[in-house]
């Protein structure tokens, strides 16, 4: 019973706000450490790929960005489901805070994919199942942001946006399994639990970069959600106390 009480406590913006604020520097620092380690392994130590030469090094950001673009969407859809089911205040703010970062990850996935595709396939873009479904993901992010921005009432915006997120979640398995379901130009996954097709340093480099992107996304989303909380809860006592406290405005 006590655990349950605690869980609900953290779902309240007044409790989550200082907690997120205290954790941001740690997530940011861990992200930098993982990023530097990943770049060191990936860019300086990892050997040349026997098929793709040095061009394969793009995957050290392409794969983490693609993973994050899908994962962030799933997290947003999770919050949307919670928000629609339990009408919680925090869930809509979380989805709002994650959307721009998710969109940027989807963009990076497409951007680095194009820069990889040009030398490897001879084309910046092909209408392949993997690429097309990832492009749709970017449009889903943009659609969600445009829709919620167009509705003045925040709670209504959350509901409409949440519905869009839940409908669009069907796209995630399509992206993930597209290389299996269809005969795509895009290669299959490079990381396999049983036997990886990559050298060990390559694999570690990629996993470290994935952790870096993950921690980065959390840090930025927390920064954003804190601002959204102040804005949306501006008439509550805790925000008034927060704003009245002089230090609140001066910290990052």
């Amino acid at each position: 019973m006590k655990d349950r009480f605690n869980l609900y406590r953290f779902a309240s913006p007044a409790t989550f706000y200082p907690l997120a604020g205290a954790m941001i520097p740690y997530f940011a620092a861990i992200s930098v450490v993982f990023g530097l380690a990943g770049l060191y392994l990936g860019m300086l130590v990892a050997p040349t790929d026997f098929q793709q030469g040095e061009g394969y090094r793009i995957i050290f950001i392409h794969v983490p960005a693609s993973w994050m673009s899908m994962f962030i969407y799933l997290v947003m859809a999770f919050w949307a489901a919670i928000g629609l089911a339990f009408n919680t205040r925090l869930s809509g703010m979380m989805a709002q805070a994650l959307a721009p970062t998710g969109a940027l990850m989807a963009f990076l996935s497409l951007w680095t994919g194009a820069l990889w595709g040009k030398p490897m396939w001879g084309a910046w873009w092909v209408w392949d199942a993997r690429l097309t479904s990832e492009l749709i993901l970017l449009f889903l992010y943009i659609g969600y942001m445009a829709l919620t921005a167009a509705i003045d009432d925040a709670r209504r915006a959350d509901k409409a946006g949440g519905l869009l997120l839940l409908v669009g979640v069907v796209n995630i398995p399509i992206i993930y399994f597209s290389v299996k379901w269809w005969n795509t130009l895009h290669q299959g996954s490079s990381v396999n639990l049983n036997k990886s097709s990559m050298a060990e340093t390559m694999l570690w480099g990629m996993l470290l970069m994935a952790m870096c992107f993950w921690m980065y996304s959390i840090a930025v989303a927390f920064m954003r959600v804190r601002t959204i909380m102040l804005e949306r809860e501006r008439h509550t006592d805790w925000v008034k106390a927060e704003l009245a406290d002089k230090t609140a405005g001066d910290e990052k």
């Binding site: 050997p47 040349t48 040095e54 940027l104 680095t112 102040l230 008034k240 009245a244």
Partner: protein
């Protein structure tokens, strides 16, 4: 341990320099600019909310004074 023989080798990326650095460059740019934008947005939002709060308190004080 280090894979490259020279710094120019590293920059050339075996002929893939443009594509590799084009990818990493844009990624670094985005991951630098996004937090800066978020932090700036936070600052302006807090300043605006403080202004609004002060205006509201002033209005309330006026009402009670009358």
């Amino acid at each position: 341990m280090i894979h490259w023989n020279s710094f120019s080798d590293f920059l050339a990326m075996g002929g893939y320099g443009f594509y590799v650095w084009g990818s990493f460059g844009v990624t670094v740019l985005i991951m630098t600019v996004e937090p800066i934008m978020v932090a700036r947005n936070r600052k302006t939002t807090i300043a605006r909310l403080k202004r609004q709060m002060r205006a509201e308190t002033r209005a309330e004080n006026r009402n009670t004074a009358e």
